[in-house]
Symmetry: D2
Subunit: 256 residues, 4 copies
């Protein structure tokens, strides 16, 4: 059985690139996403063509038992989940309070907070038994400050961050490493940012930021840090870190 | 029509005392709690005996339409809600991840995060029309850090705090004051702390802290600050503050 | 002997208005500032004309023994310092690293951090003996985040905030209340903001913000909260709070 | 000319191990410490014996021109400083306010805050010219919260953190990476922790934490993360991260 890196939320951005990186380093990458079976298969094929091991799993994370069954199937059929990346966002753009239906607010929580709780409930006991394991959590600026129009997103991400601290307090002493990775900036990800903005605006943003100048977060480079964090020696673990492009303002800085 | 101070979560602790204080200062106190009709009626009678105006409302905040109907009924039948206090906690004691069922985790969110969102969705538009209003939110240490055993509570309170910042960003410029009041310590509240600990342990804690030494947060005194915050001039509003007893360690301090 | 409210940094903004408020409520206001003897005397006369008690003290806070002697003289000649407000800022506008000489960086520390340490060293033991007392500290956004051009200011204010937490941890259990008041916005203060901007730009800012709309922090209104904090019951003390105008963005929010 | 990693504060703990790691990866390690010429020479010899390049520099960081001259000499005599580690602490154990002389308080600032400012003033313009460079700053829990007895340390470290944010805001867009590394726990460092505790207590602590269980932060392992941070691609830089042993409580958690 191969050691597995499970990615919940494996598109063409952070999730897919983390999967590639771990596969390159000898893990089986179990890649989960909600839709686009063809895109998922292409990602798996690309990894295999590069000599890696991967599998694709369509999974709607808000469906009952979806995460739980996925974890169980991988553990029994592929190998022990050594690293799990929870990479589902809940960004829905800017919505005023009056334009945020209850269902939207709840969906944000189901995706960004409850889904992570379910993943942790499924994998932490297994990792505890093995005395090791890592849960990497992609998080957002909204986990540390709320902005206008971010009711659903900020509430969900604020919950996510506090959940990570709780998991860390309970499971770190048992050998399970939880890391909250605050991605503070726009990621060069066609699947999420590209879809949210539309192809034209996305292209424009990429040009404005100057891709050759690395003005957007490049997921391939982010994956290097995800991998490093997952392989820190247990005497020196990082629980929280931020990531942003050199040319971007930190969330606490304003344009002059 | 009288100006109303609505209290969601009006027991014998913070909620009841804030109700009393606002009633004493000329507001109608609309007091809501889930159960104990007799206790609620006694609170109303006490306020009326002291010359104040109050009403009691049994309300299960997690029930569909309960908060929304309550707000609508008060606005049409009693008067404009000038101040709303969201005072529902979601503390369920220390529960390991494996002892935290999904239902428990979700209930924490329904009580501590979603309930506030629903209250805000109901009152903010009314306050915006009037160009003024205040939402006071009692919050907990778990809103700023997660501890072992606090999965449900910390995730819910972390969401609550980020939601408060979002509401503030959107509604402060419209004249609606949102305040996140971080209660960092044990409150001398028989309804909540007393019930959680049991009568004996509660008595013991009160004695250990030395009530004459004010070693627990006294809700009657806390109510003074709640009232002050609600009456700050709009040129100098407080969005976040903490409250603890002089003899208690701040959450970021450890015993030596 | 009258109970004294000592104000270090008593100009026409926060300091002077806090002095007035405490004098109105029965304290002797001992008002200290570095220069402008006439302005100081006018402030004292104004308070006395309103029936209050006050005295003016020219004091260069970075001079050896200046703060210490001032405290000793007031304690022996006027009365016990029940409340001390440390209101000296160290804002010098935006200066790049290369335009920040060592002397400037050090002066920021002497004004904003070391001066508070000296005040605390002088009054805390006296307050401890009396079993009560309050130190109010006006602080700035720079105490919680550093921006470009703020090398001196941010380093000094960051030190100030951590010093407040240390003082609180050591002296709160002894009955001494330390409060860190984060002023997150422009204050309508001709002595400081007015001088920094120059009279024309200051007038323009006041107009742009719409004084009738309370778009700047009004020091007279801020003083109400300073007074409230100093009179909280010891079972419910606030250690940290923020203050900003309703129409201003919190430091963690960006313009949309 | 070789690319240089400058270490200010190179003892047997973090500083020395970071030096070794960078030397192993091809940098010249310029190792600075205040005293113990023999120990410093042994460190240099060890690196050279392992095939690396290193030099030792005795330097009292609080002396006028010491840091500035050191930077200038290295740049002219050895090579461009690509990475600078500021690793001087200012922990002096627990001292009550009354047992903290002004000189002690000031020394903390000179070591922990001003020294970093001086280093930055010396190297940032050089790094800006080259369009690249990294300043790694070892920081402490006291940079984010003050505890009783930590007046000097907390004020100095709070200033250090805000200075790092200011430097980051100003220099990141110019290609200079500043990282604030919050070391939240006891480091297995005989030079600092060992000296502070005394040899017996240090040995006892090592045993209690179970070195075989990695209960203290192992500097050799920490150095891996220091190196990784310094080599992140500029599209994905970390500005703040924490490091602690898996078995240690985070600063915001209390023992149950």
């Amino acid at each position: 059985m191969k050691k597995v890196c499970l990615v919940i939320g494996a598109g063409a951005g952070i999730g897919g690139n983390v999967g590639k990186k771990f596969a390159k380093e000898g893990y089986h990458a179990a890649l989960c996403r909600r839709s686009d079976k063809d895109g998922l298969q292409r990602l798996v094929s690309k990894i295999e063509a590069d000599g890696g091991s991967a599998s694709g799993h369509l999974l709607n994370a808000v469906e009952e038992d979806a995460i739980e069954d996925c974890v169980a199937n991988i553990e029994s059929g592929i190998g022990p989940i050594e690293v799990a990346l929870y990479n589902l966002g809940a960004q829905i753009g800017s919505r005023s309070l009056e334009d945020t239906p209850y269902k939207t607010f709840e969906l944000g929580w189901r995706m960004a907070t409850f889904g992570l709780f379910r993943l942790a409930a499924a994998v932490c006991p297994l990792m505890e038994l093995r005395g090791r394991g890592t849960i990497l959590v992609t998080s957002a600026t909204a986990s540390v400050r709320g902005n206008a129009g971010q009711h659903s997103h900020a509430a969900a991400m604020g919950g996510r961050r506090m959940l990570c601290q709780t998991l860390n307090a309970e499971y770190a002493p048992k050998g399970v490493h939880i890391a909250h990775i605050l991605v503070d900036g726009a990621v060069d990800a066609p699947d999420t940012l590209g879809k949210m903005l539309g192809p034209e605006a996305f292209l424009k943003l990429r040009e404005a930021r100057g891709l050759e100048n690395d003005g957007l977060l490049l997921p391939e480079k982010m994956a290097e840090t995800y991998f490093h964090i997952a392989h820190q020696h247990r005497s020196a673990w990082t629980h929280e870190l931020d990531l942003r492009s050199f040319s971007d303002l930190a969330w606490w800085n304003h344009p002059p």
